[in-house]
């Protein structure tokens, strides 16, 4: 396969990382999840391990439930069977798809960014960032303001502290959403198609923020349709179809030399080669 475009991105890849001896972050065992009373299975006895500082990019056909793992980890949806450990502790167990109240000490170690920003429209940028720390985690206003100001400055949004979400561009909104998720210093960040709703010229500004986090060794699970970006940021690419992991490995291997016919077929459809 001719992968000149993708190869050119890898040559300049500044964020490769060796995770050989970092601790285990997530352990999925036999996870089953389906929708519509089993009509659509999005996780079919899934096993998956992830270590700290890894950056997993999940790719696969639409409707294959790529986002489900993220939503389950965040406590937005439940699973039917199986167990998920997080930071060496049992975190989620299967209970008939019902979301369960997750251990808040573990849940707060995870930050999530959604496709549609989900900022609170009635609060300023600062208000969005400070809500959870001050109302749930007992931070003082001064503490929260200081951390928020630092974070926003790092993301190039220092002038937008008092702006409302409707006054921001899509790219700025998404960077604010990332800052909000980073407030509590999570150990794992989940990105659910965060650039899919953005205009092309705003995609890069958000991706640059994610690359910056990668340089700081933030563990991430990313669901994206952007194969260039996937290749650029991933330490491991996981290809899923029909609720199963078809193939996983380092991006070079998945994108240039996939072992499975199903993977190759998918990549040929979504990547434009020259």
């Amino acid at each position: 396969m001719n992968n000149a475009v993708l190869n050119s991105r890898v040559a300049s890849d500044p964020v490769s990382y060796d995770d050989s001896d970092s601790p285990q972050l997530i352990k999925l065992r036999g996870v089953v999840k389906s929708y519509n009373d089993g009509a659509l299975t999005v996780m079919d006895h899934l096993d998956l391990d992830m270590h700290a500082h890894e950056r997993l990019v999940i790719i696969g056909p639409s409707g294959s439930g790529k986002s489900s793992l993220l939503r389950v980890m965040m406590g937005l949806e439940g699973i039917q069977e199986g167990t998920i450990d997080f930071l060496g502790t049992q975190y989620i167990t299967g209970t008939r798809n019902k979301p369960q109240k997750l251990d808040p000490r573990l849940q707060r170690q995870i930050g999530m960014v959604f496709q549609h920003y989900t900022l609170f429209p009635h609060l300023s940028v600062l208000g969005n960032l400070m809500l959870a720390p001050t109302k749930v985690h007992g931070w003082t206003k001064a503490q929260a303001t200081e951390r928020a100001t630092q974070l926003l400055a790092r993301l190039g949004l220092e002038s937008k502290l008092h702006a409302y979400p409707s006054q921001l561009s899509g790219g700025q909104k998404q960077r604010v959403a990332i800052a909000r998720a980073l407030m509590l210093e999570p150990k794992l960040m989940l990105f659910d198609e965060v650039t899919s709703a953005l205009d092309p010229e705003m995609v890069v500004e958000v991706q640059n923020v994610m690359l910056k986090l990668a340089e700081q060794k933030m563990a991430m699970i990313i669901v994206t349709h952007d194969m260039h970006f996937a290749r650029h940021i991933a330490t491991r690419v996981v290809f899923c179809a029909n609720g199963k992991i078809v193939e996983q490995g380092p991006p070079e291997q998945i994108f240039t030399n996939p072992k499975e016919a199903r993977t190759r077929e998918f990549l040929e459809k979504v990547v434009i080669f020259d």
Partner: protein, 220 residues
């Protein structure tokens, strides 16, 4: 035809007193009715059928019957059924409050429903408790979104309140009708009354448009 509007000026204080009564009753019933409507909307959207079914029945009944019959029923039948003598002004206020509660319930319910599931997801992802979620995220947004339709409800209540003249409350409509009968000048007085209703309601409808545009800017 001999039309002379100067006669309206002679009776201006009487008309103003009538307007005062109309405004006082509208404001009282709008305020109490909206609060009742909000509580009703919580009952109607709650998962508990013991609450949501009676609330739905109440709303559908009051939205599905003419206000005039509600007014008459409260005015004539309430005292008989309850065996109490109720002052006419109290009767009409009760009727208008019951009506206002039913229509604002739907306003608040719509506002609560218009908050997308994304907002709830974001709350969960940030680890917000149910109390923090309702107090700081859901309720403020529902209230902001409800303001334009609430104002519209108040405007229609202001106009519908003319019906209370039919049971002898001395509101603007009642006063206007009396004056046009006693002076035999219906054209002058009924026109003046219509203009007075319009002069009060028009700025309010403009206000609704202005608030709506501001809300759209905030929430788009």
């Amino acid at each position: 035809m001999n039309v002379n509007f100067s006669i309206v000026l002679e009776y201006w204080p009487v008309l103003l007193r009538g307007l005062g009564m109309t405004v006082a009753i509208t404001m009282t019933c709008a305020l109490v009715g909206s609060l009742a409507g909000f509580i009703l909307s919580l009952a109607r959207t709650s998962g508990n059928r013991m609450l949501s079914y009676p609330a739905s029945l109440y709303v559908e009944f009051f939205r599905g019957t003419p206000l005039l019959i509600q007014l008459f029923w409260v005015f004539f039948c309430f005292p008989i059924v309850l065996g109490l003598s109720v002052a006419p002004i109290v009767s009409v206020c009760i009727a208008l409050i019951l009506y206002m509660a039913a229509i604002t319930c739907e306003t608040f319910r719509g506002a609560l429903k218009s908050i997308s599931s994304d907002q709830y997801d974001a709350c969960t992802a940030l680890g917000l408790s149910a109390g923090v979620r309702v107090t700081y995220v859901i309720f403020p947004q529902a209230l902001l979104r409800a303001i334009p339709p609430l104002l519209s409800n108040v405007i229609s209540l202001f106009k519908e309140s003319a019906l209370i003249s039919s049971v002898g409350i001395a509101d603007l409509m009642f006063v206007g009708q009396n004056l046009s009968n006693s002076t035999a000048r219906p054209i002058e007085f009924l026109t003046a009354v219509a203009l007075i209703y319009f002069v009060v309601a028009f700025p309010l409808t403009r206000l609704v448009g202005w608030v709506e545009r501001r809300m759209l800017r905030r929430f788009s």
